[in-house]
């Protein structure tokens, strides 16, 4: 758990910065890692080095990192098909992740899962999920374990605006309320569920408002602002740990890439993404906020970017050099014993 | 007429037997036979065995045909003097049938069930058959078995005397608490059993590990033991079939169990599906595997028997006999060679480690003769 120290002065937007330098640098590092990872994955995918489907998280970093900054190694998260960002934010090994995407035996899932099922239970990552709405019930289960065994941990599900409409999501929220579980439902509304706008598919047009009807506290924050997400996450996590039950946070965010790599994005406006990268880049916002507040300087931030670039470079090199799984791996790990 | 006409009836072997099937008559109707001759083969749901003649006579009439199934106590055949008349045989049969239907209900009501006894905080299961003034018999089974081991022995010895068959700790229906599992721990339970029941001095009969327990009890408490019969006992030499011991402890599936149980017998067909199922049902109970493992490690650590009773055996004052199957693949019959000349040793042909099951008639005769003198 990152150290959270004294309260600082209130900044623009009215959010109180509560993280110390180390925590801020770490947040920057993780968000930068996600950004660079996704950009490189897009590149490698285009060259045909990554099989299957990938769904890129670039543009949404503040959501994953804002929330995971409040989580420890024993807390659990579950993700969607767009899972790289959450995995990195929860501490999954970047090299292992890249190898997994390349389908190599050193991958985080031994090459057996791939991008859509990327997971690491040792880091509390219950997995990306190929089924929209698959995550929330699993998170309710992890929260049930926490409450039953009295571990004091919480479980967080990351769902998109598309998944917010699934029956499983509604059922999971209801069950979390009924059993008063330490579960947090994050809805990352990036405006699109596959190729259809959230403004069309979410009938109530208000994910947080709709969720509140299930009987749990629900807030909406801007995903452009790491600090806004973090503040809401801190409150929800504290509530859950204290036995106050589940919460919902709707994060208004955007994705810079398509639904999946290879998506022609015909459903998006001509210069839409260009505009998002200029006005709604959460990394740019973060850099501006921390430098203007005198908390970190550009040199430090640049240094981290350089380190991250090196990390990603090495991860790709190792993934390329790694072995493919042995043929016997086809048949292993279906069961613990049979 | 000298001897009377009597019936051969369906015997009761073991606690659960309710009926048996006549597989084959081994002597034809009208044939004469001597004591100990095999008369017919009977199959139950658990096991197949032969019925031997108790005394000489003639097979006057075969009543139960081959392939027929009868309840216990059912009339199988009429035996008696060779010159018995047809009328006498008819009268006997008619009279028996009537008696049979009247007695059946009573017999069923009286069928003895095992009982539990609390011995120093450990619950032991035992079966008591028979009664009489003569000294009681106590039967002790071997590793992994239970009192059902004596299904052919106990009824045969129970005429005119009390015969007790005990489940050792960790076995059958007795407590799974075996302490450290060694001969002393198990022997203490047996000693306590005899004390609580106030049953001694007894004719002690022990098989395999039960034999070693019996011998060490006889050495420690000769006041409780009138005679000692050891059937393929442990404790007389270092060799032991560890493949059997380890295999038995580990077996949880039928295939493994069949392989292991077949090591016990001379004739593998003795190992019926029902016998295997009984063993597995026992092995599956919580605590059994651990108890057996504790005992195995105490008795057979490092692939050898840890207990050596040759000195104790030499010093025993009461009458001692030893019975062994010549094809015993668990404990070699050669261990009997080490015994003092005072001990009678009987080696049986065509028998493995379970002579009291494979050659029940002969073993029963040897025991009866021994304890009657």
């Amino acid at each position: 758990m990152l150290d959270q120290s004294r309260r600082g002065p209130t900044n623009e937007g009215g959010y109180v910065v509560q993280l110390n330098r180390e925590a801020l640098i770490q947040a920057w590092r993780v968000m930068t890692t996600i950004r660079r990872f996704e950009e490189r994955v897009q590149d490698e995918f285009s060259k045909g080095h990554i099989p299957g489907f990938v769904h890129l998280y670039a543009g949404q970093e503040a959501s994953a990192v804002g929330v995971c900054t409040e989580l420890g190694p024993h807390d659990y998260i579950a993700s969607t098909h767009r899972g790289h960002g959450h995995s990195i934010a929860k501490g999954c090994d970047v090299t292992g992740m890249m190898a997994e995407l390349f389908g190599k035996q050193d991958g985080l899932c031994a090459g057996k899962g791939g991008s859509m099922h990327i997971a690491d239970l040792d880091r509390g990552m219950l997995g990306a999920n190929g089924i929209v709405g698959g995550g929330p019930p699993l998170v309710v289960g992890a929260a049930l374990t926490a409450k039953t065994l009295g571990t004091g941990t919480v479980a967080v599900s990351f769902t998109g605006d598309g998944g917010s409409n699934q029956g499983t999501t509604f059922e999971a929220m209801n069950l979390a309320v009924v059993l008063q579980l330490p579960a947090i439902f994050i809805f990352e509304n990036n405006g699109y569920g596959e190729y259809t706008g959230a403004s069309y598919a979410v009938g109530s047009r208000d994910i947080a408002g709709r969720a509140a009807g299930f009987g749990l506290p629900a807030v909406k924050v801007s995903g452009d602002d790491f600090f806004a997400v973090h503040e809401a996450a801190r409150e929800a996590v504290e509530r859950a740990r204290a036995g106050g039950g589940p919460s919902v946070i709707e994060v208004d965010t955007c994705r810079f890439y398509g639904h999946h790599s290879g998506d022609a994005q015909l459903y998006r406006g001509k210069d839409e993404v260009k505009g998002l990268r200029e006005d709604r880049d959460c990394l740019k916002h973060f850099r501006r906020r921390v430098t203007e507040a005198g908390l970190l300087d550009h040199a430090e931030l640049d240094a981290v970017e350089a380190e991250v670039a090196g990390l990603i470079e090495r991860a790709v090199a190792m993934a390329q050099a790694a072995d493919i799984p042995a043929p016997e791996a086809l048949l292993t790990d279906v069961y613990v014993s049979y | 007429m000298t001897a009377a006409i009597t019936a051969i009836t369906m015997p009761k072997w073991g606690l659960t037997m309710t009926e048996g099937k006549v597989v084959q008559w081994l002597r034809p109707a009208g044939a004469a036979f001597a004591a100990g001759d095999e008369l017919l083969e009977i199959e139950t749901s658990k096991i197949t065995n032969v019925v031997e003649a108790e005394a000489a006579g003639t097979l006057l009439r075969v009543v139960a045909a081959e392939g027929s199934t009868l309840p216990i106590g059912g009339l199988l055949a009429v035996i008696g003097p060779a010159d018995a008349s047809v009328a006498e045989i008819e009268t006997f049969v008619a009279g028996f049938v009537v008696a049979e239907s009247a007695g059946e209900a009573a017999e069923a009501a009286e069928a003895p069930a095992p009982r539990m006894l609390d011995v120093a905080g450990i619950r032991l299961r035992y079966l008591e058959l028979g009664s009489g003034d003569a000294a009681s018999v106590l039967l002790l089974h071997g590793f992994g078995a239970d009192l059902n081991s004596w299904m052919f022995t106990q009824p045969a010895l129970a005429e005119g005397r009390r015969v007790l068959a005990l489940d050792l700790p960790g076995h059958g229906g007795s407590s799974r608490d075996v302490g450290n599992g060694d001969a002393e721990a198990l022997g203490q339970a047996v000693e306590g059993f005899l004390t609580v029941l106030d049953a001694g001095p007894v004719h002690l009969v022990g098989h395999s590990m039960g034999g070693a327990i019996a011998a060490s009890l006889a050495a420690r408490r000769p006041d409780l033991v009138r005679t000692l019969t050891l059937i393929a006992p442990a404790g007389l030499g270092p060799e032991i079939n560890t493949a059997f011991i380890d295999g038995f402890v580990r077996a949880s599936r039928r295939k493994d169990a069949v392989e292991v149980l077949q090591m016990l017998v001379h004739d593998p067909s003795v190992v019926s599906r029902a016998m295997v199922e009984d063993v597995l049902r026992f092995k599956r109970l919580d605590g059994v595997a651990a108890a057996l493992d504790t005992i195995a490690r105490a008795w057979f650590a490092g692939g050898r028997q840890t207990l050596d009773l040759t000195a104790e055996m030499a010093a025993l004052a009461m009458p001692v006999q030893v019975i062994w199957g010549c094809d015993d693949r668990i404990i070699p019959v050669a261990h009997a060679d080490n015994l003092a000349p005072a001990v009678q040793v009987h080696v049986l042909e065509a028998a493995g480690h379970l002579p009291h099951m494979e050659k029940a008639g002969e073993v029963n005769r040897l025991i009866r003769r021994f304890i009657d003198t």
Binding site: C109, K112, L121, L138, L175, D333, V336 | R284
Partner: protein
């Protein structure tokens, strides 16, 4: 050792395992019953009473009543299993698998494989199967073949109280997801059951009856119908060997194959529908691995390719009965003679 019904045997299994391991929890609709009502808890104890009384000993934290939301229940059970609990979730009627199939089929069954061996999912799903109560099309099916076809799941189909208790204890102690199928007409069937806990390993068939003429493989309630048919046939001089697989996944192939090797004739009896079912699965196994021993075609006695009808007269025709089983056995016995 006492005589117990299947219901009592299952209850005992749950009770003993919940005492032994505090991570075992029961979750489902009305597993206790009465939550949020004026009538108080434990009003139901499960729709057919298996879990009654558990809440009194183990409390609400371990006997968890849920809303009627199968997806959330099964998903939560899967998530709880993979994070440290050992849930026994109840899917009230196996027909409801349609509602929550993703959680079982794509989530619980596949975690271990997809995550490269890191996940352990010790989940038990208890569910009711079987026709014969006029519960009609959506409450009477026996879809164990569907679960059996899913790699990563184990499937248990007990036919008697002794097997039921040992298999349920094994299921709870097993570290893989297990679907435990209870035939809704068999809860009152009695037999001797040990009072203490015991396990029966999976993939170990029970040979209910020895015979040299025809091998009959049967599941659940059909085991008892096959036994009835065998009595009739024995009087005609035909001796059946009846095999109860106990678990369809893993399946005790060896016992079936060894039996067919001896008899050369096989009838498989399954109350489920005929396409892609267990009868077909076993017939294919034998055709593949014991072809040279077969003296007759394999006959499958199953329900017809229809939903389960409501009218008792029709439902009676739907379920295989001893007559149909005996007819199939006679047919394979007489083939080629």
């Amino acid at each position: 050792m006492t005589v117990k019904t299947i219901r009592q045997a299952l209850h005992e299994a749950l009770e003993q395992e919940m005492r032994r391991d505090p991570r075992v929890v029961v979750i489902g609709e009305d597993v206790s019953g009465g939550a949020g009502t004026g009538g108080g808890r434990d009003a139901a104890g499960g729709v057919l009473g298996v879990t009654k009384g558990l809440i009194k000993e183990f409390g609400e934290a371990r006997v968890i009543d849920t809303p009627i939301t199968e997806s959330a229940i099964m998903g939560a059970a899967a998530g709880a299993a993979v994070t440290g609990l050992r849930p026994v979730a109840e899917l009230m009627f196996s027909d409801f698998l349609g509602v929550c199939f993703d959680q079982i089929f794509n989530q619980a069954a596949k975690f271990r494989y997809m995550f490269g061996g890191k996940a352990r999912t010790p989940l038990v799903i208890r569910t009711m199967i079987g026709a014969g109560r006029s519960a009609a099309a959506q409450h009477s099916q026996s879809p164990y073949h569907i679960f059996t076809s899913v790699p990563g799941l184990k499937v248990v189909v007990p036919s008697n109280a002794y097997d039921a208790k040992g298999l349920l204890i094994q299921a709870i102690r097993d570290d893989d997801p297990v679907v435990f199928c209870e035939h809704k007409l068999m809860y009152d069937l009695k037999t001797e059951v040990p009072d203490e806990a015991y396990v029966i390993p999976f993939g170990e068939a029970n040979v209910v009856r020895d015979g040299d003429d025809v091998t009959v493989v049967a599941l659940a309630r059909m085991v008892h119908y096959a036994a009835e048919a065998a009595e009739t046939l024995a009087a005609e001089g035909i001796e059946c060997e009846i095999i109860d697989p106990r678990t369809t996944s893993p399946l005790d192939e060896d016992t079936i194959l060894e039996s067919v090797e001896r008899t050369g004739r096989l009838v498989v009896v399954d109350e489920a529908t005929p396409r892609c079912g267990m009868a077909t699965d076993i017939a294919a196994l034998v055709a593949d691995r014991a072809f040279q021993f077969l003296k007759a075609p394999v006959r499958r006695v199953t329900a017809p390719h229809t939903p389960v009808p409501f009218a008792p007269s029709l439902e009676k025709l739907y379920i295989p009965d001893p007559e149909r089983i005996a007819a199939a056995v006679r047919a394979v016995y007489g083939y080629g003679r």
